[in-house]
């Protein structure tokens, strides 16, 4: 956000729809994306009481087991950047959520957030987290904070914004070089960069020639809870039938073959 003020030339004008395709067959569940994300976005390590219920993971890798065959899939879940009817945007009482019309990124403004958590209830992906604690770092560790991202205060909701500060930095660089538009690959979120198996392909879905558009259009690609009509911009792909079958269902039922480990 700080970078916004520095842009000397007008920002790129091309209409973009940033999205990603996550290849579940390449995800090893190592969690590098999670820590890289936390480092990039100045997410503190929670106090000892912070567990999966209250700790902040803007991106979280789920371990999904198929009950009888003991097959496992690792499914990274982050903000799906819903583009059609963004459930969190419409419910926020004070416009702290905005879909950037230029990039399609769903932005959360922590400075305006009241902390009512209605958006979290409305999000079908549970991709939003609440700051239950004051953010705290051990003495000295604040020197290791990312200067491009402001730490969030207690009592506000936060979520993945596709490393917005990286987008700004890339736009600044492009502007300094006199370009209006970004080159593909010039801006990638931290998780995409961190993945040791390059399972995440990131790019502009509006650009039909991009790798991400090509992959998203393939029959092996799908989105979670597509039938809710929220138009997520995060796609998944897998050759494994049982994982694809999961996506056809809505919620899970206890008698189903799948459960989270």
């Amino acid at each position: 956000m700080a970078a916004q003020a520095k842009i000397p030339t007008p920002p790129p004008q091309k209409q973009r729809r940033y999205g990603m395709v996550i290849d579940l067959d390449r995800c090893t569940g190592c969690g590098a994306c999670m820590t890289a994300c936390a480092v990039e976005n100045n997410v503190p390590s929670g106090p000892p009481e912070a567990d999966e219920r209250k700790g902040i993971n803007l991106m979280r890798v789920f371990t999904v087991r198929e009950r009888n065959s003991r097959r496992t899939a690792f499914i990274p879940i982050l903000c799906m950047q819903c583009g059609d009817r963004t459930p969190c945007e419409t419910v926020c009482p004070q416009q702290a959520v905005e879909v950037d019309p230029l990039t399609g990124i769903v932005e959360q403004m922590p400075q305006r957030c009241l902390g009512c958590r209605y958006c979290m209830a409305a999000c079908p992906y549970q991709a939003r987290t609440f700051n239950w604690w004051d953010p705290a770092w051990p003495a000295g560790m604040e020197t290791t904070l990312n200067p491009g991202v402001a730490p969030r205060m207690r009592g506000v909701v936060e979520k993945c914004d596709l490393c917005h500060s990286r987008l700004h930095a890339a736009e600044d660089r492009a502007a300094a070089e006199g370009r209006r538009d970004l080159n593909p690959g010039e801006y990638v979120p931290a998780c995409v960069e961190a993945c040791p198996t390059q399972a995440i392909v990131f790019g502009d879905l509006a650009d039909k020639a991009s790798e991400v558009s090509r992959l998203a259009a393939q029959p092996e690609s799908f989105r979670w809870l597509e039938r809710l009509g929220t138009g997520p911009k995060v796609y998944y792909r897998t050759r494994r039938r049982w994982v694809r079958d999961l996506a056809r269902q809505g919620g899970a039922a206890p008698n189903q073959e799948v459960t989270r480990g």
Partner: protein, 669 residues
């Protein structure tokens, strides 16, 4: 009338209220409230300044992955992998480690803070006493092969009785057994996975922080990959999930499985033709392997067929960074299996690693022994080096080797379960605060060498291990810097290998003048591969049978320690590793056990319920997590964080230094 006066006052007040709206006061107040609520003074201000980029290697574990570090005002704020690299989840947050809450700022005497000068003097006096009395002085080195290891050995050479003890990396387990079988020195072999077609891991977490993580993940994730991964283990680990085939064997039945495979290979596939094979090898009934592992015989036969046909095939044991090494007998069986697969000294198998050119060292340096092989109660003074292998070790392993009234001196940057037991703990620089040397990665087939740069200045009150050794009597002219320079010179002289800049690994250059400068700027020296591996000859020994761990009436379940490399070693995890463990349960979190839902149900336990885990060695309070990926009757006990050492102490250590299994009991708290 008083009432009208009151009215007048009321009118005045109301008028003032309305009038106030037209002054800047309320709006300024509104503004200030808004700014104040949005920016709290106690939130850390993120630093500003010029952003620079440094390339170096990660010093957290022996893998030494390449790192691209973004820094502001010299302070690192984010890291990422170098091209082609694969930093692990902990590596991404490693630069925050120097600020870990358990960071030591003073020396410790028996776990209590003590001034460094005093502790150093007392410790030096104890070492001096040992030198004069001829007591046994030992150094425990978790990362052998570094020049500082040489320095330790030079230091030990000044004592009448000394031991240089190492804790070998788990990747080296099978390699060491093969080295013994073929008469090679330790740490002289590596796996040639790049040319393998079948990789069979026996309990080795190949796809999870094994060796240099990027190496195997690259092979696993290669498009149109030809290599098939087979994995035999009881636990539903990430490797089990990612392997092409996972054989969920019964606990502690690795030995039986390997024996069964050997037997089938000899009987059905004619393996070992041309080798002198003891008859007992083929006498092991495959049916027993099936019975003991709980895996259908057909599946074992299928594996044997694939190993025999889809060659090069290699079997990898070695154990786990947390669950510990496999029993020595199993490693021996694995080395025989590799011999039968023709994997010894052949492409795609276990090959010799060319030794790194070394400077000429003075004679009389003490030889290396593994901690498991050190005589019991033999060490009077133990100095423990700070560098961690990222693996968990039971404290019992050390304690057994200490003489009564032994003195232990830990060099550590953090307060850990180990330092709590130490006589003295001397605060040394944390990772990223001093130069760290990364020799070849365990398990690799190529020698390599790199130096991790300090990203922070060494804090006041810390003392380098080298300075400690000098204070303890190492002659001042023997310095680490001289040794490192000498090694660089030796490599330059040998003229072998290439130098890969970390920023652009593809632009490697042959070794020439200026290797030292290149390394300190951020590069890796990698040895040239041998043109053709030399076959390794082995005499096949008879294999002893190994009893399998069994549950008892009192302890009806079988428990195994579980965790990730770096989760509970002799050094804490980076603070943000909590995202992986207790904040997401992607990895086991401290104080947790995982069981199959059926097991939980039969014990009256609930998901997230509290329970007590008991083994013959004690008990601890745990939280239960159910996981349908687990085998019934089997408990995975998380070894993580501060509690890791305490929990690991529940597992009995066998004579050959293994602690993989324990009968256990789980009851509702």
């Amino acid at each position: 009338m008083s009432a009208t006066r009151r009215d007048l006052l009321l009118m005045t007040a109301a008028g003032a209220g309305v009038g106030m709206v037209f002054t800047p006061v309320p709006w300024k107040l509104l503004d200030d409230v808004s700014i104040w609520t949005q920016n709290w003074s106690w939130l850390p201000k993120h630093p500003r300044g010029e952003i620079t980029i440094t390339h170096t290697v990660c010093p957290l574990c022996p893998a030494g992955c390449g790192m691209k570090v973004r820094r502001v005002n010299e302070a690192p704020f984010a890291v990422s992998s170098t091209p082609g690299g694969a930093l692990c989840a902990r590596g991404f947050a490693g630069h925050q480690l120097p600020f870990h809450q358990s960071r030591l700022r003073t020396a410790l005497h028996r776990g209590k803070a003590a001034p460094l000068a005093e502790a150093l003097e007392d410790a030096a006096a104890a070492v001096e006493r040992a030198r004069r009395s001829g007591a046994v002085v030992a150094v425990l080195d978790q990362r052998p092969g570094r020049m500082v290891s040489v320095l330790y050995r030079q230091f030990l050479a000044g004592f009448p009785r000394a031991q240089y003890v190492t804790l070998p990396a788990p990747e080296e387990g099978t390699l060491r057994a093969v080295a013994e079988l073929t008469g090679r020195p330790p740490r002289s072999l590596g796996y040639d996975f790049e040319r393998s077609r079948t990789i069979f891991s026996v309990g080795a977490p190949l796809l999870d922080h094994w060796g240099a993580p990027g190496r195997l993940l690259r092979l696993w994730g290669a498009p149109e990959r030809k290599i098939r991964f087979w994995h035999a283990a009881s636990g539903n680990s990430r490797t089990a999930a990612l392997s092409d085939r996972w054989m969920a064997i019964r606990p502690d039945s690795e030995h039986a499985l390997v024996r069964g495979l050997i037997s089938i290979l000899i009987r059905e596939h004619g393996a070992g033709a041309g080798l002198a094979l003891p008859a007992s090898l083929s006498a092991f009934p495959p049916e027993e392997a099936a019975a003991r592992t709980g895996v259908p015989l057909a599946q074992i036969q299928e594996l044997a067929r694939e190993l025999a046909t889809a060659r090069p095939a290699v079997a990898v044991g070695g154990g786990d960074p947390v669950a510990g090494p496999l029993p020595a007998a199993t490693e021996q069986a694995l080395s025989v299996l590799n011999a039968l697969l023709g994997a010894l000294g052949t492409p795609g198998g276990i090959v010799e690693r060319r030794p790194v050119p070394q400077p000429t060292l003075p004679p009389g340096l003490p030889a290396e022994t593994t901690l498991a092989r050190a005589p019991a109660r033999s060490i009077d003074v133990l100095i423990v080096d700070s560098a961690s292998s990222g693996c968990a070790w039971p404290l019992e392993l050390i304690q057994d080797k200490l003489a009564p009234d032994a003195v232990t001196i830990h060099l550590s940057a953090f307060r850990t379960a180990w330092t709590a037991q130490a006589t003295w703990t001397l605060p040394v620089p944390a990772p990223f605060e001093a130069w760290e040397e990364i020799p070849e990665t365990p398990g690799s087939r190529l020698a390599s060498w790199s130096l991790a740069k300090p990203l922070f200045p060494m804090p006041e009150g810390a003392i380098s291990p080298e300075a400690v050794l000098h204070r303890f009597g190492l002659p001042e002219d023997q310095t680490l810097d001289a040794l490192l320079q000498a090694k660089a010179a030796a490599i330059e002289k040998a003229g072998r290998g290439v130098v890969r800049p970390l920023a652009e690994p593809d632009e490697s250059s042959p070794v020439g003048e200026g290797l030292w400068d290149q390394l300190t700027e951020g590069a890796v020296w990698v040895d040239d591969p041998e043109p053709a591996p030399r076959p390794l000859r082995a005499a096949i020994p008879d294999l002893p049978d190994l009893p399998q761990v069994a549950s008892t009436a009192q302890f009806p379940l079988l428990a195994t320690p579980a965790g990730s490399r770096g989760g509970a070693g002799s050094m804490p995890s980076p603070p943000l590793a909590s995202k992986l463990t207790r904040e997401s349960h992607l990895e086991p979190a401290a104080g947790e056990v995982r069981v199959h839902p059926r097991t939980a149900e039969s014990l009256g336990l609930k998901h997230r319920g509290r329970a007590v885990l008991a083994t013959p060695k004690g008990e601890t309070a745990v939280v239960v997590r159910t996981d349908p990926g687990m085998a019934d009757g089997f408990v995975e006990v998380a070894i993580e964080g501060d509690r890791g050492a305490e929990t690991l102490a529940l597992f009995p250590v066998s004579r050959d230094g293994a602690w993989r299994w324990s009968p256990a009991q789980l009851r509702r708290a």
